[in-house]
């Protein structure tokens, strides 16, 4: 099969280890490749590429490898140019990157250099018939209720998308699997070094939300009802984590890294409790895969109930304290 028209994913590395968010792109990439009668390949830029078998083991058949010790750290200028040259040479039809801090920079830079169309924070991707061929449809949350917006790039190629991390699942790993490596030489003096990353400093990351079994998430209605304390208590009672919608974050009642949704975190706990949130698709996108979703809102027509396994229509001021009491009792009875 020719190399043209492939589906590419960017395999982001950190200390030569591939980021889990890149691995999440593989299954979707393969599915698209099949629908577009093409094949999947990953682009790896890094120091040595000593661990790229990991990509093969997760199902990538082919890796474009660009490596040099000076490229261990993400170097914005060089990475953008190297990636864009690869695009010009092999002409992929689709490029996917994850919405990491670096993916959110590299994707637009490559798009600007290659003239590609780029859609940010996609929550789904599929293929539709278009004129005499097929086109990639990029889905992003829309305005109002559960509306989703389809975005396409009718003429320009490649079609690029950043994909919300946590939306797609990691594939099975098959130890020992192998694939094709296409090495491209790197010449440092041809690259743009006006900006240079000199050191990576690791910091502890708060993953309490991603790892929580139970999440109690407040919406704007919690502020209106003045029940922030009860929300905290409910989380403590259930040994869960506290989260919030964007308005609560903007109001400073919830920390930025506790925000759920398209611009925040994606979670899938055993129990997700939403209190006083209307259920905008920007928000619900972040927890749709939770095992059980339970919500309380005073508006019986709130969109949040469309995504809930169980709902209570009521004023949080009246309902929440009772819920906290009853659950405290229940938890105690369980020891």
């Amino acid at each position: 099969m020719s190399s043209k028209n492939e589906i590419w994913i960017w395999a982001e590395q950190r200390q030569e280890r591939i980021e889990p968010s890149s691995i999440e792109l593989i299954e979707k990439g393969k599915e698209l490749a099949e629908l577009l009668s093409s094949s999947l390949a990953a682009v790896y830029i890094g120091g040595s590429g000593e661990r790229i078998e990991e990509l093969f083991e997760y199902g990538v058949p082919k890796v474009y490898l660009l490596h040099h010790p000076e490229l261990v750290l993400y170097q914005g200028g060089p990475y953008s140019i190297l990636f864009s040259r690869l695009v010009a040479k092999y002409q992929p039809q689709v490029i996917l990157m994850s919405t990491t801090y670096l993916g959110l920079e590299l994707a637009p830079r490559v798009a600007a250099l290659t003239g590609a169309g780029l859609t940010a924070h996609c929550v789904d991707l599929f293929v539709e018939r278009h004129k005499d061929g097929h086109i990639l449809v990029q889905v992003v949350p829309g305005w109002g209720g559960n509306l989703m917006v389809k975005i396409v790039c009718p003429e320009r190629r490649p079609q690029m998308a950043t994909v919300k991390a946590g939306i797609f699942e990691k594939p099975q790993r098959r130890p020992g699997a192998s694939g094709e490596v296409v090495s491209n030489p790197v010449r440092l003096d041809e690259l743009d070094w006006r900006v240079k990353a000199i050191e990576l400093i690791e910091e502890e990351e708060d993953r309490s939300l991603e790892e929580a079994d139970v999440i109690v998430c407040g919406g704007w209605g919690v502020k209106g009802a003045g029940v922030m304390d009860d929300l905290q208590k409910l989380a403590e009672t259930l040994k869960g984590a506290v989260a919030g919608t964007r308005p609560l974050v903007d109001a400073g009642l919830i920390a930025e890294n506790q925000m759920i949704g398209i611009s925040g975190k994606t979670v899938n706990p055993r129990l997700f409790i939403s209190l006083g949130a209307s259920g905008a698709s920007h928000f619900t996108t972040g927890f749709l895969k939770s095992k059980v979703i339970f919500s309380i809102d005073q508006n019986p027509n709130a969109q949040i109930f469309e995504v809930s396994d169980l709902g209570i229509v009521g004023d949080l001021k009246k309902v929440l304290p009772v819920l906290v009491d009853e659950l405290e009792r229940y938890m105690q009875s369980r020891g």
Partner: protein, 267 residues
Amino acid sequence: MRLNIVVCIKQVPHPEHFHEIKLDPESQTINRRGIPAILNPPDKHALEEALQLKERYGGTITAVSMGPPEASQIMEEAYALGVDRSILLCDPLFAGADTLATARALAIGIQRLGEVDLILCGTHSMDGATGQVGPQLAEILGFPFIGFVRKMEIQERGTVLAERTIERGYLKVEGSLPLVLSVTKEINTPRLPTVIGIMEATQKEIYTWDTKELGIDPALVGIEGSPTRVSGIFERRLSRKGELLQGDPEEVIRKAIKRLRELEALR
């Protein structure tokens, strides 16, 4: 060292009114008529950083935005905060631009300003939230770019040291002017405009440039110049809707707990 700084700012719908924004199913465009609008909050940090740098090194600050005539409101706000010049790129032909077409228009506007040392952007716009405009602008101008800058320092001879946020840490980055940066909200605390600033701002001229004035080929901007477009909208089918309880709180809660146990959501 005097710095010529450009700050890219955008007018966005007030987040409290997001739910009033509707996607018109016919035209598939966003209808934000009548919805109160504000200066994109992340851009306030870009403005603040520019003001602090000017206080330190001297120079000029130019605020630039591409937007509808109503966006003159945020251009005035920029004057009130202390910028030297406010320029609104405004033309019906700019409408419907995706991020690449937006970046192109901004780049052409900025190229008219003469020598520029530093271009500051916010990390994202509240209504689009792509964060793509800054990096695309940099590539079009041929300037280097550093994204998600949470701390920066300019040294003699125009060397910039920055901390750039990534997952689980940050990168220490070194660069030299000219540069395009996007700054995060950790970088500073934006000031409020002073009363005098607000009064004086109303007297200042907001320069408005259209495609003719800019000499832009209309095919490169607006919906024409955008590689991407909306092809449709659909309702996400969510078949999850379960039981809805309503009534006396005590009773409702008892039922809810029972149901949650059945669903094995409680342990």
